[in-house]
């Protein structure tokens, strides 16, 4: 399955971006092959509705889960409609988050590990 992690930079050593709507990059991870693709978030500079735009992007990328710091109420509505699971309160580097996710250590969906 595909998951999206919000990232502050386009490398595996980058930290998780705590913002969902205005994160710098989306790390699109294929959890079976462990391939990672970094996609720049064009919604960073949206004048309004950055969260909505990001939610739409995540759905368009066909991700089934998103791992990030905090998702606002509007983006949440978009993600829920798109049946994307949301893990909030995620910290650490992209590499460690992928590791944890693959080992099923993500805990509950509100992100408390």
């Amino acid at each position: 399955m595909k998951i999206v992690i919000t990232a502050q930079d386009n490398s595996l050593n980058s930290e998780v971006d705590p913002r969902f709507g205005r994160c710098k990059y989306f790390a699109l991870v294929d959890s079976t092959t462990n391939d990672v693709e970094f996609i720049e978030n064009t919604g960073v500079n949206a004048d309004s509705g950055a969260g909505v735009q990001s939610a739409q992007k995540v759905v368009d990328l066909q991700a089934e889960a998103v791992l990030t710091g905090r998702v606002g109420p509007k983006a949440m509505r978009g993600l829920e409609t798109g049946k994307v699971r949301v893990y909030e309160g995620i910290t650490g580097t992209i590499a460690t988050v992928i590791e944890k996710f693959n080992h099923g250590q993500m805990g509950k969906e509100d992100g408390s590990e």
């Binding site: 509705g49 735009q53 798109g82």
Partner: protein
């Protein structure tokens, strides 16, 4: 000296808390006094509170509120049956108020500015418009004086449409006093549009000066004549700050009135009472303020 009794006067300030509402409400009361010197009929005066985020004039004027109208903007509604899932509406919307998610269009009314673009461009005519409340307009009377105020619904970030609608009530034949929101934002510009004169309220501190400069810039850009009221004019115990006075002299902005700081004034305000009702000197001062505005405006023409 002529009295111009159909002006639209906006009371504004770069900074909140300088006494904008005090000036607007006391001016309205001073002018509407039946036994006053000017004898402008009460029914020929209107006070409009455009500070829709924090409308406070009513606390002092205590109008009898007669009517409350809802203010709407148009927001889209998608007919799922007709929608052909082309997603053009969500691509068009610069505010991201529509999103195309897994075959359906989600609408985020909080983000919509009501431009009508989505319903216009929809090739399947699947989008109609419904109304969303963004605030209210209250209409009332203080004696025979007309009172209007706008109130922004909490959590709604759209003040200008309410202000625009409020200002449709301006009667060009009447003397209109507008209590503007503080600052220099779009709401302030909406309030200033079409004004004949602006009274800028400030206080003699570096904060007051900084914010007066900002407000003056707005008024200059909109080419509206203005004058300054310095509130708490003697606030400083030590030395005093004369930079506001210097700035006005330098820019050739008339100082229309100076109100000293006075604990009795402050507690009168704190209770929600009007200064001109309690202090006869101030009643006179506010009439003079109005005369100064008229004289200044006349001098410009």
């Amino acid at each position: 000296m002529g009295v111009n009794s159909n002006l639209t006067i906006v009371v504004a300030s770069g900074k909140g808390g300088t006494g904008k509402t005090t000036i607007a409400t006391n001016l309205a009361r001073a002018l509407s006094r039946e036994d006053g010197d000017l004898r402008i009929p009460q029914e020929m005066i209107q006070l409009i509170d455009c500070d829709v985020e924090e409308p406070n004039s009513h606390l002092f004027l205590r109008p009898e509120l007669l009517e409350r109208k809802e203010v709407y903007i148009s927001i889209p509604e998608v007919d799922g049956e007709k929608c052909i899932q082309c997603a053009r509406c969500s691509e068009f919307c610069v505010y991201n108020a529509l999103a195309y998610i897994k075959g359906s269009i989600l609408i985020f009314p909080e983000l919509c500015h009501g431009c009508g673009g989505c319903s216009f461009i929809c090739p399947a005519h699947a989008i109609s418009e419904s109304q969303r409340i963004i605030g209210w307009i209250d209409q009332g009377k203080i004696g025979k004086m007309e009172f209007l105020q706008g109130e922004l619904k909490i959590g709604t970030p759209l003040a200008p449409p309410i202000i625009k609608q409020l200002k449709e009530a301006i009667d060009q034949d009447k003397l209109t006093i507008i209590d503007a929101p503080p600052g220099t934002s779009c709401s302030v510009v909406s309030s200033l549009y079409g004004a004949d004169y602006v009274i800028l309220v400030t206080e003699p501190t570096p904060f007051g000066l900084n914010d007066l400069k900002l407000a003056y810039e707005v008024v200059q850009k909109m080419q509206i004549p203005c004058g300054v009221v310095i509130n708490r004019a003697d606030l400083l115990s030590s030395g005093g700050d004369i930079s506001v006075e210097d700035f006005c002299r330098e820019m050739d902005i008339p100082i229309l009135l100076r109100i000293p700081f006075n604990r009795e004034y402050a507690s009168c305000y704190a209770r929600g009472d009007l200064l001109v009702d309690q202090f006869p000197d101030l009643q006179k001062a506010f009439i003079q303020l109005f005369m100064a505005v008229c004289a200044n405006k006349e001098g410009m023409n």
